[in-house]
Amino acid sequence: MSDDLYREQILEHYKNPHHFGELADADITQEGDNPLCGDVITLYLKLDDGRVGDVRFRGRGCAISQASASMLTDMIVGKPVQQLKVFPTRDLLDELGIQISPARMKCATLSVNTLRVALDGESQEED
């Protein structure tokens, strides 16, 4: 784990987010927000034979929340919905690769929590 909260990869995802935008023919559109921080994202999922065929997101918020959403889209595209219903929060935190303080955990996990709601998955304890 790097101690540098704003390492290059996170800033790169924040400035040039992957899969940013909307899907006009999305099967699932799910909004998520942290009222405490004002971070918001909307996930657009196009399903294809039980898998996530395509994904986009729109959002506004801090670098941690938006970079995490961008990274998540890379991680879920092409994956089976059944598998994503239990997508481990830990996998996304590992991908972020930084120490997340308790105060910023809600920012880091906004995207994966929104995915879980979108797919009607089970909630997970955050660590």
């Binding site: 909260l5 800033l11 405490l36 921080c37 004002g38 918020g61 801090c62 670098a63 941690i64 910023r104």
Partner: protein, 411 residues
């Protein structure tokens, strides 16, 4: 400003043990006093002394320790009463904080006096603690909430105030905005409310710590504030109210200490102020608040206000050096208390606060418990730097340097 002696913030910092700390290897620069102030050694010592030498339940025991505890606790109340120029010590009710003081009025005065169809007037800049209690009361009894709006500088729009006050039962308003720093003209507004037959409740959480407050001169009816924002401890706050109102109000919490005589099915109430203080009070905290009042009084609140006015004036000018910054709140430092909110393009307030924390600088990022105000400003969050008597202009310089360093990370 009269009687405002300049403060020596450097010397004052030495009174606050925590300000000697290092954060991430840098000297702590504490710019979040609007959230909670730091505590000087005399306050910490007064509470420590109580626990070490005369801890006992006040108002009950007839032994020496309890008498000492009672004397110290009630002496703190007298000093608080004098600090805000209450006409009687019986008008000073100790609560847990500002929020509890406002909720006391909601439950006791509000339920007895606000009926279906009545109107309560608030402002767009209220902290949630002076908004949500009135939403709950309005939902409970079927009353209506109305709001005074603000202009783009964060000043209340007071044109037509007389008309807006017509038929209003209660005006609940903040003395100083915790987010924008706006100092509201309470005396004039309360006079208008009185002419219209409305009572005025003031949220003074951001005012009593930072400027002279004279509740009689302001001409208000209820005034609430917290100990922990004025160099005192958490867990103690104050509701001041006119004695006649308090006499007529039903009790808030029931229990020990607030009663005179109790039978199995009924009870009669203690005299003021204890009628509103059920259960063992926060004794150490009350004593700590008394010590905080003594601490602030040695400088004089005119001097504290003048010091913060100078800092705000300097910070408003200095922050202009930051490329792209938007500063909220009044431009006139006379109307702008010691809190400045701002936003930057391309850096979210949380990222900025995290980055400058690495420089040892503590600022607040978020909605500051004023979500409707954030909506009015059209931003999800702001960064807020807030000042107190221990802050120095050099710390403003370091804040600006820290912000510029953060901008390089995000460039």
């Amino acid at each position: 400003m009269i009687d405002a002696r300049p403060l020596n913030a450097q010397a004052i910092q030495a009174d606050f043990p925590i300000l000697a700390r290092q954060i991430h290897g840098k000297p702590l620069i504490y710019l979040d006093s609007a959230a909670t102030s730091q505590k000087p050694a005399p306050v910490i010592d007064a509470m420590d002394d109580y626990y070490r030498r005369y801890n006992a339940n006040p108002h009950r025991g007839v032994y020496a320790l309890s008498e000492e505890a009672t004397a110290a606790y009630e002496s703190a109340r007298r000093r608080v009463a004098s600090f805000i120029n209450a006409s009687s010590v019986k008008e000073v009710i100790f609560t847990r904080n500002t929020t509890e003081a406002i909720n006391l009025v909601r439950y006791s005065w509000g339920r007895a006096n606000i009926k279906a169809g009545d109107r309560i007037l608030l402002t767009e800049m209220e902290h949630h603690s002076n908004l949500v209690p009135w939403q709950l009361l309005a939902q409970e009894v079927g009353a209506r909430l109305e709001f005074l709006c603000i202009d783009d500088d964060g000043l209340l729009l007071l044109d037509g105030l007389e008309r807006k006050l017509e038929g209003v039962k209660l005006l609940a308003i903040t003395h100083q905005s915790n987010t924008l720093g706006t100092i509201n003209p309470i005396k004039a507004i309360a006079a208008a409310a009185r002419r219209a037959g409305a009572l005025t409740l003031v949220d003074g959480a951001q005012a009593v710590p930072h400027m002279p407050v004279d509740v009689q001169d302001l001409g208000v009816d209820f005034y609430a504030f917290s100990g922990h924002k004025m160099c005192g401890p958490t867990g103690v706050g104050v509701l001041w109210a006119r004695r006649a109102l308090l006499e007529a109000m039903p009790p808030f919490l029931g229990g020990g200490d607030m009663i005179k005589r109790v039978k199995l099915t009924e009870a009669s109430w203690n005299d003021l102020p204890w009628k509103f203080e059920a259960g063992t009070p926060s004794v150490a905290e009350g004593i700590g608040l008394g010590a905080a009042v003594d601490y602030l009084s040695q400088f004089g609140m005119d001097s504290v206000r003048a010091h913060e006015r100078t800092l705000v004036d300097y910070a408003m000018e200095k922050l202009q050096e930051v490329t792209g910054i938007t500063i909220y709140g009044p431009k006139d430092p006379e109307l702008h208390g010691g809190a400045i909110s701002f936003t930057l393009p391309n850096i979210h307030p949380h990222d900025l606060a995290t980055l400058i924390d690495r420089e040892g600088i503590a600022v607040r990022a978020g909605h500051h418990c004023t979500q409707p105000l954030m909506e009015r400003l059209g931003v999800p969050a702001t960064t807020r730097a807030s000042f107190y008597l221990y802050n120095r202009p050099e710390e403003v310089d370091q804040l600006v340097t820290g912000i510029q360093k953060a901008q390089k990370v995000f460039a």
